[in-house]
């Protein structure tokens, strides 16, 4: 077996050294009734070529449109990740190592994560960020739990403009913690109403969550919402599903958010049917010792050289156990490394240029869509690369026809908002050419005739 060096000869030598007459002796502790007496009922083994055939055959059954004809965002945005990123995270020293428990031999990973923490904090407008969480939704759930813990309160206001899947994950995480998630219906306005949010908050409100750009793609007025929560003393949690927007927009921290979370897939990740993802989590300094997740800190070694190490570990499960800030251990470290590399390649100009290209593509698409008779922007709100349009006919059918024709668009908001059944989301980024946008629009226009 090509991954197991122990040959029959080696086995004999080893057993002799161990002083066991057979391998079975080493498994004697397993009670008879629990031992398997038949081979595992699984297929294989397949040698490499046959293995690739198997998976390539499976992959061919994915008949979806390619990225340049995928106009869906909704929490997973299509971007081109520079090819160098994958090559660099494929350096064996980055991907076949584990958590940097021994800092002297893990400076590469530690330095990369320190960069990720810095970029994350800078983009979100916060003072400190952690080494990553599983994804944006679970990061938001942990932010909600943290807010309740630090304030000692038990209510959280969450507008229905936060991504439905993120809200579901928050519900799952908080269901047995005595936390009351109050859904604030704002969908009919397309953006949060600061006064309505203020009215939903009181002295028991630990936090209010605002996603910007929100699920419909609209930029929220974070400054106004920040003011609206002041009286109640609730914390402001800012959530970002599309951090590419932060190439142009300030992060929620700039408007006063206490905790920020984001889904970092747009940097360094691939669509990959949603995973692996990348959770980003950031707070202001005053809350640093209360935040979940790993943290890399800079320090000096015994020779006085700058170096990095995991730090503030007493917050974590391996020390604090049931009193830890979270149960998280492994996170998404390699994806965080990929994000840092991607952002480094983009740099100051590239990040801004890419964001501008997103703005151009989505606004062109919006202009063309609204030129189709009967098609209207669902709302008149500022947007980055995603927006909602109302169609004059059956959106589900049109989306189905588009998919069959090799273009993915949507989703249909009726899936989560029953009163918005023929309103769909559309997303256009730097990967979408004028040609493909025009073709998409033409097909939809045909569908309306």
């Amino acid at each position: 077996m090509r991954y197991i060096p122990l040959s029959p000869q080696d086995k004999e030598k080893a057993l002799a050294t161990i002083g066991a007459s057979s391998v079975d002796q080493l498994f004697a502790d397993i009670p008879e009734a629990a031992r398997m007496n038949h081979p595992l009922q699984i297929p294989g083994p397949l040698p490499e070529m046959d293995l690739m055939d198997w998976f390539e055959t499976a992959a061919e059954k994915n008949t979806h449109a390619g990225p340049r004809k995928t106009f869906i965002g909704a929490g997973a945005y299509v971007h081109h990740v520079p090819v160098a990123v994958d090559h660099l995270i494929s350096r064996t020293e980055f991907f076949t190592c584990y958590t940097p428990y021994q800092p002297e031999v893990s400076q590469g990973t530690l330095a990369a994560i320190y960069e990720f923490q810095t970029y994350t904090a800078a983009l979100l407008g916060m003072e400190v960020a952690n080494a990553s969480m599983y994804d944006g939704p679970s990061a938001l759930a942990e932010a909600v739990i943290m807010a309740c813990r630090v304030t000692g309160r038990d209510k959280v206001v969450m507008p229905d403009l936060v991504h439905p899947h993120w809200r579901q994950v928050v519900q799952t995480y908080t269901q047995h913690l005595g936390i009351d998630i109050i859904l604030a219906p704002m969908a009919s306005d397309g953006v949060c109403d600061p006064e309505k949010l203020a009215a939903a908050m009181d002295q028991r409100t630990a936090a209010v969550v605002v996603q910007s750009p929100n699920f419909f793609g609209h930029v929220e007025d974070m400054a106004a919402i920040n003011k609206a929560r002041e009286e109640s003393g609730a914390l402001l949690i800012g959530a970002v599903a599309e951090p590419m927007a932060l190439g142009l927009l300030q992060g929620p921290g700039a408007s006063g958010a206490d905790i920020c979370v984001a889904e970092g897939r747009s940097f360094g990740g691939s669509l990959g049917f949603g995973g692996p993802a990348l959770g980003m989590f950031a707070v202001q300094n005053s809350l640093a010792r209360k935040m979940p997740g790993r943290l890399v800190g800079k320090t000096k070694d015994t020779k006085g050289q700058d170096g990095y190490t995991l730090t503030l570990s007493t917050r974590e499960q391996h020390i604090r156990r049931e009193k830890a800030t979270s149960n998280i251990c492994s996170n998404q470290a390699l994806m965080a490394t990929a994000a840092a590399i991607h952002i480094s390649l983009l740099g100051q100009n590239g990040l801004r240029e890419t964001a501008l290209a997103n703005l151009a593509a989505s606004h062109y698409l919006a202009e063309k869509m609204t030129a189709i008779p009967g098609v209207k922007m669902a709302f008149d709100q500022p947007f980055f690369n995603e927006f909602a349009v109302t169609l004059p006919m059956d959106a589900q059918r049109i989306l189905g026809d588009l998919a069959s024709a090799g273009y993915l668009a949507g989703p249909n908001l009726g899936r989560w908002y029953p009163e918005m059944n023929n309103t769909i989301l559309l997303c256009a980024t730097e990967v979408h050419s004028k040609k493909n946008i025009d073709a998409l629009v033409a097909m939809i226009a045909k569908g309306t005739v």
């Binding site: 010792r289 570990s313 007493t314 020390i319 604090r320």
Partner: protein
């Protein structure tokens, strides 16, 4: 290892120095800080909080461990050593002096009677 004779001690390795004004100064012992190693953070209660003897008043963290801090006496917290925020190492350097943690206005000075003398506390540390 220092075991100042003018102090009272608890089994949980805290010391108490009672002033004439009925205010008790509390910290952890030289033995405790030695066991914990380099102290990196001390979590203290808020001024005004009321504590009962035996109740936890905070946490002392070293790099790899966390220790609950137990109040040896009952009373209201009247002062907290804010220097420990920037310089938690004071607990290591001067556990009985500048590394003090909280000051409590004692409800009942007689509680000191049930604490350990320097000699008894020293015996305790030699056992484990």
């Amino acid at each position: 290892m220092d075991f100042p004779k003018d102090l009272k001690y608890s089994k949980e390795h805290e010391w108490v120095r009672l002033g004439d004004d009925g205010v008790a100064v509390i910290g952890i012992t030289a033995f405790a800080q030695d066991e914990l190693g380099d102290i990196v953070f001390v979590e203290t209660p808020k001024v005004g909080q009321n504590l009962k003897a035996g109740q936890t008043f905070g946490v002392a963290e070293s790099v790899k461990t966390v220790s609950d801090l137990y109040s040896p006496v009952s009373g209201e917290v009247v002062e907290v050593n804010t220097n420990l925020l920037d310089s938690p190492e004071l607990v290591n350097e001067s556990p009985f002096g500048d590394g003090w943690m909280i000051k409590i206005k004692m409800d009942d000075p007689a509680e000191l009677g049930s604490l350990l003398s320097s000699q008894d506390y020293q015996k305790l540390t030699q056992k484990g």
